[in-house]
């Protein structure tokens, strides 16, 4: 069944945290963390049945506090981390923890729905010396032994031992600057043996080398206001995309930090999240507090720029094929604008399993699962 209509799933609470279950490559799975100060927070494990266009869910309790950031292990599909807010009467602290889903999706589902299971805590990721935790990143290419956390103004690397349930901080580095610079977001470069990450604070984007824990590059004034999200191109080295409060999405080549490669200005308010499609990196998703999700096709900066970059490497057999394509040269531009949300959309992510499915989450707890329009899909495939 190839229905183009979006599937909407409503959470009871407000929510900001969404991630694709990166370790699961067969089923379309997402995990969502809720934000509620006064109620018990939950982690929703969402399964999207592509055939029947139906959503199944498992709800787990997250007793520690409201979830600000969630990320799933790239190898072990049961592992995930959350950054949560622990509030007491007079103070609120952001902490991080490593969790394990209680069991396989279908097993859990068969059980009674009335009372939710809790997530199994493996260990806390302690970074309290460095301030509030912003986010946790898993190693992009499947090394499960360490994760990187982003504290207020520090980058922290933990060695984790999932079996033994412990995490040991192995290294960290600080960020110096005027005022009190605070990290907002980060991305782990999947290229070069995954030894680089990039972080953003205020209007800067910085690159770090994990081996030396030193800064390698900095893009000053990447956006005219706060940078909200960055993402590396999964298929093309050095390329990354960023978004921010200036309503723009910008593409960068980190070897040339003076000028952005391209600027998209399709949103009418802050852009909170931007994601490369893991398979077809010309597809760019961005979400904004103007409550829109926009899918862009940026062919010219992708790893498959038809017509100019791959020509020489291609086999001759492909010539005819390419000629056909060139007869109507594909243009960069917006593919679709999704307006199913009523509130600010803080996160968006592609499915890890299906290259054409993505989920977006708005503050009012509405999760929308959409597909890339079929016409566009065929254009890319054929």
């Amino acid at each position: 069944m190839e229905d183009e209509a979006p599937v909407i799933y409503g959470l009871e609470f407000q929510a900001r945290a969404l991630a694709a279950q990166a370790g699961e490559t067969d089923q379309i799975r997402f995990i969502v963390g809720t934000q509620s100060l006064r109620q018990e927070n939950q982690v929703h494990h969402i399964d999207f049945d592509d055939e029947n266009n139906v959503i199944n869910k498992n709800v787990f309790l997250h007793k520690e506090g409201e979830i600000w950031h969630i990320s799933a292990s790239t190898v072990d599909k049961d592992l995930l981390t959350t950054c949560y807010n622990k509030t007491s009467e007079s103070k609120a602290e952001m902490k991080a923890a490593l969790w394990k889903l209680p069991g396989d999706f279908d097993e859990v589902q068969s059980e009674d729905q009335s009372s939710h299971q809790s997530l199994n805590l493996i260990c806390h990721l302690d970074g309290s010396d460095y301030g509030d935790m912003k986010s946790i990143m898993w190693h992009p290419s499947g090394d499960n032994s360490n994760v990187i956390g982003l504290a207020d103004n520090h980058i922290i690397v933990w060695d984790i031992d999932t079996a033994g349930g412990s995490a040991k901080m192995s290294s960290s580095t600080g960020l110096e600057g005027k005022g009190q610079p605070k990290h907002t977001c980060s991305s782990w470069d999947p290229h070069h043996n995954s030894v680089q990450i990039s972080t953003a604070n205020d209007t800067y984007i910085r690159g770090w080398d994990l081996r030396t824990m030193k800064q390698t590059y900095v893009i000053e004034n990447a956006h005219s206001q706060l940078v909200r999200d960055i993402d590396f191109n999964p298929n093309k080295q050095y390329y990354l995309v960023s978004c921010g409060d200036d309503c723009k999405v910008k593409f960068w080549d980190v070897r040339n930090v003076g000028q952005p490669l391209q600027i998209l200005a399709d949103h009418s308010h802050w852009v909170w999240s931007v994601r490369y499609n893991r398979f077809h990196d010309q597809l760019i998703l961005s979400s904004s507090s103007d409550s829109r999700v926009i899918l862009n096709n940026i062919l010219s900066l992708s790893s498959e720029p038809y017509g100019h970059l791959i020509d020489n490497d291609d086999d001759d057999d492909d010539v005819d094929d390419r000629d056909n394509r060139e007869s109507s040269p594909p243009q960069d531009g917006v593919i679709a604008t999704y307006e199913e949300h009523e509130d600010s959309v803080y996160t968006v992510d592609w499915s890890a399993a299906d290259p054409w499915v993505f989920a977006s989450l708005s503050y009012d707890g509405r999760l929308v699962i959409n597909r890339v329009p079929r016409a566009e899909k065929y254009k890319i495939l054929l």
């Binding site: 609470f13 407000q14 007079s90 609120a92 308010h269 507090s289 103007d290 600010s344 009012d364």
Partner: protein, 759 residues
């Protein structure tokens, strides 16, 4: 009788000759006649016949006797005459014999004489020949001396004449030693002569007439014409080069002066000529010399009858090459000079100079019909015109930039001094920039009109006028200027530079004014002043208008963004830096809110100066009504929360959103005050909300937000087009705050009111 007889005979013979019975006939047969007579006639008749016949015989006899007698006399006289004649002839014969003998004697004598004289005659002719030869030889022997004398007397032409006369002879008898001597002498002298002539030819001081004579003589001396041409041109070139160098010198002088003008005032002697003088100098010096050269060259080498065809053509070619190279140099010089002129301001002088230059070239063109200098000249003129246009465009641009700088300064200075004053001058500034830019353009147009004044020759040429008016003035100047303004303004929107917001506002207004009237006015003015050809493809007014309209829109949007951002930044800082969990119970509206309202008020007054009010959706005369409904609404909401604290709170806002329109935060603004302010307020409040959502609030934190939002509500409604909008946004802020609050207990509306009124 004889006669008769003969006659009868004749008749018989002629007429009835055949009749044998005709007695007079030739065939008369007497027997037949007699028998017939006897047979036919009677006796009497016979008798009669016989008697008649007898009578006739008798008369015939007598006639015969008479005739014989008569003829006898005649024979006698004839014999006499013949005898006499015989005598005479004999005498004559003697005479003749005498004559013949005389004649033969004469012949003998004359032959004798001629025989004796023959030798002498030959001698004489020989002598005469020798004489003339000797004369010639003498001339030849004297020739070197003569030639020398001639050369001494500078009578070169005579010398040449002598030489050419004798040359052939000398050449012929070259083999004889004496002649050879003469010949070599002569050639030496002639060489000297040639040398002299060449000397004279090369001499800078010699006049063209002298030159022409020299060339003439040299040609007669069979000097190769080609070389002469070359030499002549070489010679001419030196002179012309001098001229050009002079021109170049002037240019350098001017350049140096321009360079050093600040440091040292140039001495009087070194004062460079102005452009008119320069061109005059060029015309009088270089061009007239050039004309002279061409004319004399024509006289010397081209208009000769004897010159062979190919020499002519070579000569012409040489001349053309020569002239072309020199003219090129000259053109370069003029171009450079005119180019320098760009920096200075005087147009009329330049135009006059160009005109003179152009006219002069045309004259030159007539002289040398093969080449077309007027084209090159016109190119220079058009180039100069184009330069002027570019220069003016540059100065207009400069002026515009200056205006902007002025405005910036104006905007910057009073802000420090006095806030009241600042609000007054915005309209003035706008007026100023409008008037001055317009004036500037007008004056430039007037300046440029000089180029097409009717007394200027080149202005009348269609190939100058058309492009100049259309491409130069209209497209190159006016349209470019407008585009330049558009681009510059556009840069303010996109560039990383941060112009003062008020400047954006002024520019936006300027652009929209341009769109509504100024552009069409300028274009019409230009077209009138430069009477354009309407058929030429040009940038249309509407296109310019659309562009500048878009720019005005962008500027205004940018203004809204910038101002919205400024206020947003204030709000964000205030939300982010405060510890909302541990705040004390609100006693006051936070200072930042007052600041926000103050800023928005001042923005309002600024925008109000330049833009009209715009339409508001529903206007309420006092704020209390809104305040009341607001407090009512919040009361209601609070009640709900108090009673059902466990129910999902987002439901409330969701329902609310269903009924209210979606709010476009960075939507396009209209050209009205209300729209602009609505935009700014929307941006600010949205930021406020997003910031609130990122925080956690304690009870008093929530209450502080309540107070703040109420305060904002109290003051902001009057600025916006739709009060509901502010209401909705503020409600959402409070609502979000409630969500983010650990202990959501609301403040009493009455207390809020009290606090706000006190503040």
């Amino acid at each position: 009788m004889l006669k008769m007889y003969y006659g009868l005979d004749e008749d018989k013979a002629g007429g009835a000759s055949l009749d044998p019975c005709d007695i007079d006939g030739a065939h008369f047969k007497p027997d037949l006649y007699l028998g017939k007579l006897i047979q036919e006639k009677s006796l009497t008749e016979l008798m009669d016949k016989e008697s008649e016949m007898l009578r006739q015989i008798r008369s015939l006899d007598s006639d015969m006797q008479t005739l014989v007698y008569e003829n006898y006399n005649k024979f006698i006289s004839a014999t006499d005459t013949i005898r006499k004649m015989k005598n005479d002839f004999r005498k004559m014969e003697d005479e003749m014999d005498h004559l013949a003998s005389n004649m033969s004697r004469i012949t003998v004598f004359s032959s004798n004489i001629s025989h004796t004289l023959q030798d002498r005659r030959q001698n004489i002719t020989k002598l005469a020949g020798v004489h003339s030869l000797l004369k010639k030889l003498q001339f030849l022997f004297e020739l070197p001396a003569r030639l020398k004398k001639c050369i001494e007397m500078k009578a070169y032409s005579q010398a040449v004449r002598y030489y050419t006369k004798s040359q052939q002879v000398l050449h012929q008898y070259q083999h004889m030693p004496s002649f050879q001597g003469i010949n070599s002498d002569c050639s030496k002298i002639i060489k000297e002569l040639t040398q002299n002539l060449k000397q004279q030819f090369r001499d800078k001081e010699s006049t063209p007439k002298q030159l022409a004579e020299c060339v003439d003589l040299l040609l007669q001396l069979h000097e190769p014409a080609e070389e002469l041409c070359e030499e002549f041109l070489e010679h001419a070139r030196q002179k012309l080069d001098c001229d050009i160098q002079e021109l170049q010198h002037q240019i350098n002088l001017l350049k140096n002066v321009n360079k050093t003008s600040e440091t040292a005032p140039p001495s009087y002697l070194d004062t460079p000529m102005d452009v008119l003088e320069f061109v005059d100098c060029g015309c009088n010096g270089f061009l007239s010399n050039m004309c002279l050269v061409i004319a004399s060259y024509n006289d010397m080498f081209l208009n000769r009858q004897q010159g062979s065809e190919d020499i002519d053509s070579i000569a012409v070619k040489k001349l053309v090459i020569f002239v072309n190279t020199l003219m090129e140099l000259y053109f370069n010089a003029v171009q450079e000079r005119v180019h320098i002129e760009k920096e200075t301001g005087d147009n009329t002088l330049l135009v006059r100079a160009l005109d003179r230059f152009h006219r002069r070239l045309q004259a030159m063109n007539k002289l040398l019909p093969d080449t077309d200098f007027s084209r090159a000249g016109t190119n220079i003129v058009s180039k100069a015109a184009q330069d002027r246009v570019n220069h003016y465009l540059e100065s207009l641009k400069q002026h515009f930039t200056d205006c902007l700088t002025d405005i910036r300064q104006n905007l910057a200075s009073p802000r420090l001094a006095n806030k009241q004053e600042q609000s007054v001058n915005l309209t003035e500034l706008l007026g100023n920039i409008q008037v001055t830019t317009l004036e500037q353009v007008k004056s430039v147009l007037i300046n440029l009109q000089v180029f097409i004044a009717s007394d200027i020759t080149f202005a009348m040429k269609p190939y100058f006028r058309g492009p100049f008016c259309t491409h130069g003035v209209r497209e190159g100047l006016v349209v470019s200027y407008i585009k330049m303004i558009t681009d510059m303004c556009q840069d303010f929107c996109e560039g990383t530079s941060t112009p003062p917001p008020a400047l954006l506002l002024i520019l936006s207004r300027l652009c929209s004014d341009y769109e509504s009237s100024t552009i069409s006015y300028l274009i019409t003015l230009t077209e009138e002043q430069f009477d354009m050809d309407p058929h030429v493809e040009v940038t249309s007014v509407s296109e310019l208008c659309v562009n500048i309209k878009q720019t005005a829109q962008n500027l205004l949007s940018h203004y809204v963004k910038v101002q919205g951002l400024a206020i947003s930044q204030m709000l964000r800082k205030s939300v982010e830096t405060r510890d909302w969990l541990n705040t004390i119970e609100p006693r006051n509206v936070r200072a930042v809110m007052k600041r926000v309202v103050e800023d928005i008020t001042s923005i309002d007054s600024l925008v109000g100066q330049l833009y009209e009010e715009g339409i508001k959706k529903e206007r309420s005369s006092d704020s209390s009504r809104r305040a009341h409904s607001y407090s009512y609404a919040s009361q209601q909401r609070r009640g709900q929360w108090n009673f059902t604290p466990s129910i999902d709170n987002s439901l409330m806002s969701n329902i609310q959103k269903l009924f209210s329109e979606k709010i476009e935060i960075f939507s396009t603004v209209e050209f009205s005050k209300v729209s602009v302010l609505t935009g700014i307020i929307k941006i600010s409040l949205k930021t406020f909300m997003e910031c609130v959502r990122l925080r956690i609030f304690g009870r008093y934190g929530l209450q502080q937000i309540q107070v703040d939002t109420y305060y904002l509500q109290l003051y902001l409604w009057r600025f916006v087009s739709d009060e509901n909008l502010v209401q909705v946004l503020l409600d959402e802020i409070v609502c979000s705050t409630v969500h983010r609050c650990l202990d959501p207990s609301m403040m009493e509306p009455s207390v809020i009111e009290l606090i706000c009124e006190r503040g």
